[in-house]
């Protein structure tokens, strides 16, 4: 590969046609050096003056010097050479140009990488499925790559026949494949009191959505003859150092909980619980216990560390809500979003994600004026229960300051709240379950920043 490809030309945002064609070509070909950049600044000032004076550069003036894009007029290194053979990369990898969108930590959030979070880069993802390598990470005592042949699942407690299953056993059973989101209960936690992080990766990146394949937990519970009368809760436990434990109500367990080994067509990734995890749809991610090794049926909640000390919501007045499990209706605009900049006036497709732990998304409304007026966005199919739903809406940016917001409504009729409405009930210290409407301020020079408004 030639060296010049290591430095693709920088692309500038600017009022249209404010630079002349020869400069444009020079920038396309050789990038933006200091001389050209300085020239651009001067050109912009001149162009702004012309625009302000009510005139504009005419297209005919441009046409006189512009013969065409050299990328079109000339052959390229790609169209005149032979490409690589099949299976050059036996397990395919993203293009080398796609290195910017990766999982990232939020500096200072935690002191220990083994009990931390890596956020999913929502700002550049499409559709509703999160690429498996970009699924957000949350570990409580580090992650392990466990040998599947040595993994066991035990179902015990209030059952007639406590059983041990190997992964062979689990994979022989009837399977289901369903798309569900997993959202950490602490997603958007930094924003309870005030704006604290710059981009959607850090405000909302603790959510991902995958197609999970596995055995319904209800099948295993039935197979062991669980106590249908007195068995009210199950405990799920992980095989990692933290021995992660969470109580799941029998109602949920019998509804749609999956003992999953598959994720987006392949086995789970190690960071996501390979070879076996629980998926508790609609419930905060901590309940979807990774590296699942034990299910215990009981008649009371188990009051594990992450349902007494953490993943509980402190209210004004000092009481703490326990077992706040459901991830309520929420949405966020992912493009344009915080830290991004629009590349000029004109048409944009505002796009984002909506979800609810209570069922399906019914509607998403979008405001571009800070909540004065709202328009209903298009929901892309499929719209699935307890899965991410992608929404899109047209927007022509006229260069004026704007505030972008989205508001999800689920099929129970619940409307995603404003941050001040949430604070009125829960204060600012409850850490978890911040599902407030997100506001992105668009400055008149196109920069998008994270703000909060009433």
């Amino acid at each position: 590969m030639s060296n010049e490809l290591k430095k693709p030309g920088r692309i500038i945002r600017a009022p249209e046609n404010f630079i002349d064609a020869s400069l444009s070509q020079a920038i396309s070909k050789d990038g933006l050096n200091e001389t050209r950049r300085d020239f651009l600044r001067k050109s912009f000032v001149a162009a702004s003056a012309v625009v302000a004076g009510g005139a504009a550069l005419t297209k005919s003036a441009m046409a006189a010097t512009f013969e065409g894009d050299p990328l079109i007029l000339n052959h390229t290194e790609y169209d005149q050479t032979l490409g690589l053979p099949v299976a050059a990369n036996p397990y395919g990898v993203p293009s080398k140009y796609e290195t910017n969108l990766v999982r990232r930590e939020s500096p200072g959030l935690t002191q220990v990488g083994g009990a931390s979070v890596a956020f999913s880069p929502l700002q550049g993802l499409f559709g509703i499925i999160t690429p498996s390598g970009l699924h957000f990470e949350r570990h409580h005592q580090g992650w392990q790559d466990m040998d599947p042949t040595k993994h066991r699942l035990m179902v015990m407690g209030m059952v007639k026949n406590p059983k041990v299953y190997t992964i062979d056993d689990i994979m022989r059973l009837p399977s289901v494949s369903r798309m569900h989101f997993i959202e950490c209960g602490a997603n958007t936690a930094t924003e309870w009191g005030n704006v604290a992080v710059p981009t959607v990766q850090y405000t909302h990146g603790m959510i991902s959505c995958s197609e999970f394949t596995g055995v319904p937990l209800s099948v295993l519970l039935d197979d062991c003859g669980f106590d249908k009368k007195n068995g009210k809760f199950v405990l799920a436990e992980g095989a990692d150092g933290s021995g992660m434990t969470r109580t799941i109500s029998m109602e949920n367990a019998l509804d749609d909980v999956i003992v999953a080994y598959g994720m987006n067509g392949e086995m789970l990734r190690p960071e996501n619980g390979y070879p076996l995890r629980l998926v508790v749809p609609g419930v905060q991610g901590v309940s979807s216990v990774k590296w699942l090794r034990r299910i215990e049926v009981g008649d009371k909640p188990f009051d594990a560390k992450d349902e007494v000390s953490h993943y509980v919501d402190l209210l004004p007045g000092g009481m703490t809500r326990q077992f706040t499990s459901v991830q309520e209706s929420k949405s966020v605009i992912t493009t344009p979003s915080g830290g991004q900049v629009l590349i000029g006036k004109g048409f944009y497709n505002i796009t984002g994600l909506a979800w609810t732990g209570r069922g399906k998304i019914k509607r998403v409304d979008v405001s571009t004026d800070g909540g004065r007026t709202w328009r209903t966005a298009r929901l892309e199919t499929p719209v699935l229960s307890k899965a991410l739903t992608r929404f899109n809406i047209d927007w022509v940016w006229d260069g004026s300051p704007a505030i972008l917001q989205s508001r999800a409504i689920d099929d129970t009729g619940y409307v995603q709240p404003k941050i001040n409405q949430l604070r009125a009930v829960r204060g600012t210290k409850s850490i978890y379950h911040n599902n407030a409407i997100q506001s992105w301020r668009v400055a008149d020079f196109g920069e998008v920043t994270n703000v909060q408004v009433n």
Binding site: V219, G225, Y348
Partner: protein, 373 residues
């Protein structure tokens, strides 16, 4: 509701004439042994169901704490260096009431474990299953009792001469400072529960004016690296090299004015200090890692005929590299051989590979020669 459960019940009923469903999956799984169950069934519930017999003194706990716990949690369990504090923020009055006042008045912004937990079983269970941090499940039962006793002693909940056992732990629970501090009275436990906010889906004239309440604080401006490097360098938008809003510090009043004043394209309608010309480049090219020469040898199937070390059909790359070590003309020579083919040096004939990109051939040859450098 997952229907398969019902289906299996029906199938079992009709096929076997039994109410049991335990026979549907013949040959799958096996009954757990008692020893297996007791090896894994370590959870301890709030009513202390599951807690094993044992005992540990505050003094023993102190020794274990100093050697195995203090490096992360601090000598007095107060440290916030690595994890949240374990001890602090509770009072004798809290122990009487079962409510921690500091949670209500916010006087301890960093909530300690003893401030938060309602159930002592939780502390016992968690230390037993997950501590020490880098060697979980290595404490004996008695050591767990001792460490729990010492934590409670540091929190002024137990006296220094106390010995905690499975028999007295339920009594100690009755003094836990936040034992009455939890509520399950909310709509977020059940899927069909009701939310606690009541926003309405207004569409027009929903607010009179936009009121900014918070913008990105200074400390957060540069904390997350270069945003441009966290977005594509092409597409509908770019990431910012540097957040200009952070440079210009528009304050809430300025924003409120600007965003509630009709905008005029000449800029006179906005008094935004942040408004200035769009003169800076908006995207940073990603750092591109070119495929290494060694990787290209695999991608281009060179390794079908050449082992990395040993001969397959053609010579091994290590042998080629050794042969041309210190030969200044080796690179040009080998590029020629790969491109145009060659014979006479090793057994057999190297076919020409002129279809490969010249830059790739060069990179592969360099990586072969580098083996012996």
């Amino acid at each position: 509701m997952y229907k398969l459960t019902k289906v299996f019940i029906i199938i079992s009923l009709s096929a076997l004439g039994l109410a049991s469903t335990a026979h549907a999956f013949t040959g799958i799984g096996r009954t757990a042994t008692e020893k297996e169950i007791s090896a894994w069934d370590i959870d301890v519930r709030a009513d202390f169901k599951g807690i094993p017999k044992g005992s540990g003194s505050v003094a023993q706990g102190n020794l274990i704490w100093d050697t195995k716990c203090a490096s992360c949690h601090g000598t007095f369990g107060e440290s916030m260096e690595v994890f949240g504090p374990i001890v602090g923020g509770t009072t004798k009055e809290d122990m009487k009431a079962g409510h921690v006042l500091a949670l209500a008045d916010g006087s301890e912004p960093k909530r300690s474990t003893l401030m938060k937990v309602s159930s002592l079983s939780t502390i016992w269970d968690y230390i037993n299953r997950a501590m020490p941090w880098n060697a979980p499940k290595t404490l004996t039962t008695d050591e767990v009792y001792a460490v729990v006793a010492y934590i409670l002693n540091m929190g002024d909940i137990l006296p220094s001469n106390f010995v905690l056992t499975e028999k007295n732990i339920a009594e100690v629970q009755k003094t836990m400072p936040n034992r009455n501090g939890m509520t399950k009275d909310h709509g977020m436990w059940k899927t069909k529960g009701k939310g606690d906010t009541n926003n309405i889906a207004c569409m027009k004239d929903c607010i009179k004016k936009v009121e900014f309440t918070s913008v990105l604080p200074d400390y957060a401006c540069d904390a997350h690296g270069v945003i441009a490097e966290q977005n594509r360098h092409f597409g509908a938008v770019r990431g910012e090299d540097k957040l200009l809003a952070c440079d210009t510090h528009p304050n809430i009043e300025e924003l409120n004015t600007a965003y509630n004043t009709p905008y005029k394209s000449d800029g006179n309608g906005t008094k935004l200090a942040v408004s200035f010309a769009m003169t800076k480049p908006a995207s940073v090219a990603p750092v591109i890692t070119e495929t290494s020469g060694l990787e290209m040898l695999k991608q281009n199937k060179c390794t079908a005929c050449h082992g990395m070390a040993k001969k397959i059909i053609g010579p091994g790359f290590a042998d080629v590299s050794a042969k041309y070590k210190n030969d200044p003309g080796a690179e040009a020579h080998l590029i020629g051989v790969v491109t145009n083919g060659g014979s006479g040096v090793w057994d057999g004939t190297m076919p020409p590979h002129g279809h490969l990109k010249a830059a790739h051939i060069k990179s592969m040859v360099q990586s072969i020669l580098a083996i012996s450098k």
